[in-house]
Subunit: 336 residues, 2 copies
Amino acid sequence: MARRPNTNASLRDVAKLAGVSAQTVSRVANGSDAVRSATRERVLSAMDQLGYRPSFAARSLRAGTYRSVGLVMPCDISATGRRFQLEGIATAAAERKYALTLVQLCDGDISLEDASRRMASLPVDGQILGLGSDPSDFATFVPPATIPTVIISTHPHPRCATVSNDQVACSTAIVDYLVSMGHREIRFAGGRREAPANIGRLEGWMAAMAAHGLACHEPLFGDWTADSGYRIGALLAHDDTCTAIYAGNDAMAVGVIYALRDAGRRVPEDVSVIGVDDSLVGVIPRLELSSYRFDDEQVGAIAFDLAINPPLGDVPPHTLVQGAVVKRSTVAPPRS
Amino acid sequence: MARRPNTNASLRDVAKLAGVSAQTVSRVANGSDAVRSATRERVLSAMDQLGYRPSFAARSLRAGTYRSVGLVMPCDISATGRRFQLEGIATAAAERKYALTLVQLCDGDISLEDASRRMASLPVDGQILGLGSDPSDFATFVPPATIPTVIISTHPHPRCATVSNDQVACSTAIVDYLVSMGHREIRFAGGRREAPANIGRLEGWMAAMAAHGLACHEPLFGDWTADSGYRIGALLAHDDTCTAIYAGNDAMAVGVIYALRDAGRRVPEDVSVIGVDDSLVGVIPRLELSSYRFDDEQVGAIAFDLAINPPLGDVPPHTLVQGAVVKRSTVAPPRS
DNA sequence: TCATAAAATGTTTACGTTAACATTCCACGA
DNA sequence: TCGTGGAATGTTAACGTAAACATTTTATGA
C-alpha cells in the first residue's frame, strides 16, 4: 500500500515528477488543449501518483474570486419554510457551480451586524442573510462595501436588496380560488398575530375580500400550532354562514378540521379548509389538505443571483415571490 | 457619502494610508499586543476608511488550513432526520469556529466518488458525506488521501470513518420501555422493508423481544407514510392480544392510531402506539405522540470531530449514536 | 533542405498574508 | 552621558497558482 503523502502536493511537485514545468501542469489541471496528449498522460499519472489536489486558496488568491456565497441562517433551520429556502439556495448554487458556505447563528447573536462580520472572514463573494423575524439592527445595518448583501425579509431594507415570499399574494390567491369555487364567507384563522408573515397575509386577505366585494368577518389568531387551530375551529364551528377557512399554516388547518369534525360539521362537504406551506404531505392518513405552496426555490435562486450579481441602482430592489395554491381537499360550498 | 472602493483593499493599502508597514497592519488585524495604541488607532482608522477585509485566500494559503469542513447532502435535505443532522453539524462547526461548506448532490450524480471529487476543489479541511441510502459505489469508494472523510451511514465503510444513528438501540430502547410498562405483545409496524433504517430496527426489535423472552409476531411493513400506517393499523386492530405497536416513524404511528380508533379501539387505553423521529410536535391537535428521538446533534458533532481530527488506526471507526424514548401518549396495557 | 508559422512548453511575476528575522526606538540605570 | 535591553516596527521570503510573455519544438510548404 502506497504510503500517504503527509502534505499536499503542489503543481511544482507534480511538475518535477512528470519532468515538465509547473505551468504545463496547471494547463492540464485546467483542461487546456494546448498540451500534447503524451505530456498530458505523463502529468495526469504524476498527479495521480502524488494525490494532487489543487489549492483552493492559491487559486482564489490568484483569481480574486471564490465562486462561493455565504448564507446565514438561524439555528432552527428546520423551521418550516426556512429549510425549503435553504434547499432553494443550495440548488441555485449547485446549478451555477458555486459553493455555499453556511453559518448558523444562534440565540445571543442574531444581528445582521454579527452575521455580516462573521461572513467577512470567510471565502464568499456575496452573502445572503436569512435571519428570520426582524433582527434588532435591521434598520441601522450597513452592509460591508466589499460583500454584496442580500436579505431574506418581508420588509424592504434601505441599503440591501431583499427577497421574500409574497404573503399578500398568498392571501390573494387563496381568496380568489375559494371565491371562484363559490365561497363568499371566508374566515381568516391566522398564526401568531405579530408575526410578519401573519401581518402580510391578514392584509392580503382583507384586500382580496374587499376586491370581491365581500365582508371580512373578525379575523382570528393562533400560534401556528394544531392546538391553536383547534381552538379557532371550535369557535367557527358554530358559525353556519362560514363555508371556508383560511388557516395560517397546515398544522393549524389540521386543528381547524378536527374541531369542525368534532363539532359535527363535515370537511370539506360543509366547510372547506386550506392551509399554507404544503408541509404535511403523507403525514395525516386519508387527508389531502389543500394548501398554498410558496416557491422557495425561486426565492433562493433570486437571492443567489442578487448576491452574485449585485444591482447597481441607488434603491436596492425588493423582490416578492409568488407561490401557488395546491388544490386538494377544498370543494364548492354546500348549496344553502 | 464616501464612494465605494472598487476593489478590496489589501494590507499594503492600509499600511500606506496609515504610514506603517504591512506587518504592523497584520499585527493589528490579528490582535497582537505588540503594537502601540496610538499606532493601532491609526491602523484601525485606515482599515475603516478603506473598508479593509482580510483575504481568506491569502490567509489560508499561508496557513495551509481552511478551518472549514465540507458537507455533501442529497437534494431532499428536508427529509426527516437529515435536516436535523445538518443542524447538528452546523452547530458543531459553529462551536469550533469552523465554517461549513454545503454541497447538494442531486439525482444523477449520487455517488461518493462524485461528491468527493466535487469537494476536493473547495476550501475544506475535511468532508462529511451524508448521502442517504447506499450510493452505488459505497463499497468501492476510496477516499482522497488529502481530505479526511467521514460517511454518515448505517453500514461501516471499509476505508472511511462512519457515524450513524443506532437503529438497533432505537428498537431496544422502545421495547425495553414498553415492556417496563407491562406490555408483552409488541408489534412491529416498520417502514419500507429494504430501507437500511428499517432493517436495523427490525433486527433490534427481534433481538430485544427475544431478550425479554417474548415472541415476535409477524412484523409488518409500510412505506413511511401515514396511509401505510393506517393499513397496518387496520390489520392489527383485530388482534386483541396486541397492546402496543412500534411504528416506523411518526406519520405511520398517526396512521396506525387513526385506524385503531376507526376500528373502535381506544388509544392509548387499549393500545399504545409509539413512533420514531419525534417529528410531529404540534402538528396533530390534542395528540402527544410518544416517539424515539435520535440524537442528530451528537451524530453531527461526532462526524465533525472525525473530519477535523481523523483517527489514525488501520480500521476506521464506526460510531453508533443512541437517542432516547420521548414518553408521551403511551400507557400501561389494559388489565386483561 | 531550409524558412516559417504554429503548436507546445517554459519563465517570470504577482495575488495578500504572516512567520522569522532584522532593525529602530525609547526608557532606565550606571 | 552613554550603554543596554526590551518594546515597537520594518524587511524578506514563501505559501500555490495562472496570466503574460518568452522560448523551444514540430509541422508544413517551397
